[in-house]
Symmetry: C2
Subunit: 368 residues, 2 copies
């Protein structure tokens, strides 16, 4: 995947009693990515998009390009076996990769699957994973063409996905947003992060619903919504394809690490600032119901793993976007600004404050 | 990749006291691969080579094909941090993938790198890995174009490598050997497996040499040879390219799981039998020196991770092969036979016995 983004560190923490707190994360994932870019040779011109976007784009010949991405689900980091139904885990492993290609406007085609298998994995759980993944592959028209099997201490699902670009289509990149462009988002915010919290609090997914002994029906309905967002994220593939076909977006990214982090990446790649208007944030109703306004807002700004689209639309193309959006759940949440204005949140009271990614390095500035 | 081969299980074993011995390995990796093929949709015709060869071959358009493979090195399974110098580990992670593409006659081009990073990984070790990998990438003309970073309980290096086929070139597959074809092998056998044993016995790699307190000089020379074979495998890329360019091989595979296993796979894919002549086996001199004839023979037949080429040559092309082989270390070790003769070893005393892969399932027959 070319994302080279340390998505998972937010969800995990060192074992208790482990004094060796993430040493390599001192400068953070961004530091490690910079180090990697420095050490490895600069790719040749046929590599049109390299480290630093949702996927890599490589020109095979004058005519053909391929788009490459990879993503993993690691037990204990991205999921727990006890709380993640195997079928949903299998489809999710594919979804997180499909989301990367969708945000580039690429057509997913073929994938490699590597299974890291612990000794104690029940065959029925593995079978559930494979069936869930195969179902999703069928639904999305992608084909397993190879992979690897390896023993490992914990279960990991590791996919590399190869896509193509439609005839004459350009990839949607992170780096094309301009001041004045509108900032759009699909779906809602905070549902997936809430779902993860609920799993930790004892809620379970049973026959398509959230369940916790003794919980009120209204809570169960909200929990079902949140657990579904977390266990079975559903990128808006249709809208992503529309954006690409009609060249409606000047920049795009999939939201895997939370609005604040992903918007920050989009702005950095585009060398622009942005202003998000709090009142327009599509905070998930489940988060509002179960956590209240304050906490729901925090989940909305920083909760990851939504796998929705965050994108920039030039004003001249906004009308066409809205005409085509149809049943997509789409929300304009702000606009792009000159770099000097930074990335800020305009609160409901009119005050603005910096919108900083979790783990933000205060020494770093948006380049530009 | 596309190998979907459970290479690592041979080297590993369940923790002591763990009664849940590999349940999913009951029918073995072959069983799991069969299950995967059954569950996932059959790839469309543009997928020319799918699960079951060293790499997948996919037609992007009339003109362009890509070759895809993936392989991983998992701490505690494929290496131990204490015994594996980081630079050699980094280059090895790339080599095992390059070997897959070489055996297909493909040209390696671009790769994705995913690092599974444990909390306690010293930054210097990680840096050594990256520098070793970058050196090897430069040497082989391949470029890092993306990847991912994820937290994990143990260190794993995970590469997906994309290659192309030279103009008008066909991939060398496992399935093309015919009865009467000669069986050839590059390099020697048993060195890598011996190297792994020696690391377990306390030998260490220091400044380009094997070292163990108090060992005789002759042993140290042999140990250096074995440790190098294990820590820094060197596929014969030049010969692989020659075979492909001049269409000398009717079938090929890289030896990652031991001669017996890999030959068995080649024979199964080609629906042929084979006879290996023991007297021609290029048993590694280090294995003979340090382990004696009997044990060296076992290492030669079953020791994995040599990353050499095992291939079939029609008699009509043998002369040309030998004329072109030049400085390649090449050995004819037997020939392919009709299916009914099975895969056998002709011992020095003239007797033959079945050459069965470790963990061979006696209920299974070579199809044909």
């Amino acid at each position: 995947l070319t994302r080279l983004i340390f998505a998972s560190v937010c969800q995990s923490s060192p074992k208790k009693g482990d004094s060796t707190v993430p040493r390599w994360s001192a400068p953070g994932e961004e530091g490690l990515i910079r180090r990697i870019r420095r050490i490895f040779p600069e790719p040749p011109p046929e590599v049109q998009v390299s480290i630093g976007d949702d996927a890599a784009v490589v020109r095979i010949s004058d005519r053909d390009k391929v788009v490459l991405t990879t993503d993993q689900l690691v037990e204990g980091i991205h999921f727990r076996r006890a709380t993640h139904p195997p079928g949903l885990l299998g489809s999710r492993a594919l979804t997180v990769n499909l989301s990367d290609l969708a945000s580039m406007g690429a057509i997913p085609r073929w994938f490699l699957l590597t299974l890291f298998l612990p000794w104690n994995l029940p065959p029925s759980y593995l079978d559930g994973i494979l069936r869930g993944m195969a179902r999703e592959a069928r639904r999305r028209g992608v084909f397993l063409v190879g992979g690897n099997l390896t023993a490992a201490p914990v279960l990991s699902l590791d996919i590399s996905l190869v896509g193509t670009l439609g005839k004459g289509r350009k990839p949607m990149l992170r780096g094309g947003a301009r001041p004045g462009d509108r900032l759009y988002l699909t779906g809602t915010l905070g549902g997936s992060a809430l779902g993860l919290e609920l799993l930790g609090a004892g809620w379970r997914w049973r026959r398509g619903k959230a369940y916790l002994q003794g919980s009120p029906a209204a809570d169960a309905a909200a929990a079902t919504r949140a657990l579904r967002a977390h266990l079975a994220p559903a990128p808006d593939y249709r809208l992503a394809s529309l954006l690409s076909r009609h060249r409606l977006a000047s920049a795009a990214i999939d939201t895997s690490d939370g609005l604040a982090s992903d918007l920050w990446r989009l702005c950095r790649a585009s060398s622009v600032g942005a202003r998000v208007e709090e009142e327009y944030l599509p905070v998930d109703s489940a988060a509002l119901h179960l956590r209240g306004t304050e906490r729901a807002r925090d989940l909305a700004l920083n909760g990851g793993e939504e796998y929705q689209l965050l994108f920039a639309v030039p004003p001249s193309r906004e009308k066409r976007l809205l005409a085509l959006a149809g049943r997509s759940h789409l929300r304009r949440i702000g606009s792009f600004r000159p770099t000097r204005e930074g990335v800020v949140l305009e609160e409901k009271n009119g005050k603005t404050r910096p919108l900083e990614p979790r783990g933000f390095d205060h020494l770093r500035k948006i380049p530009g």
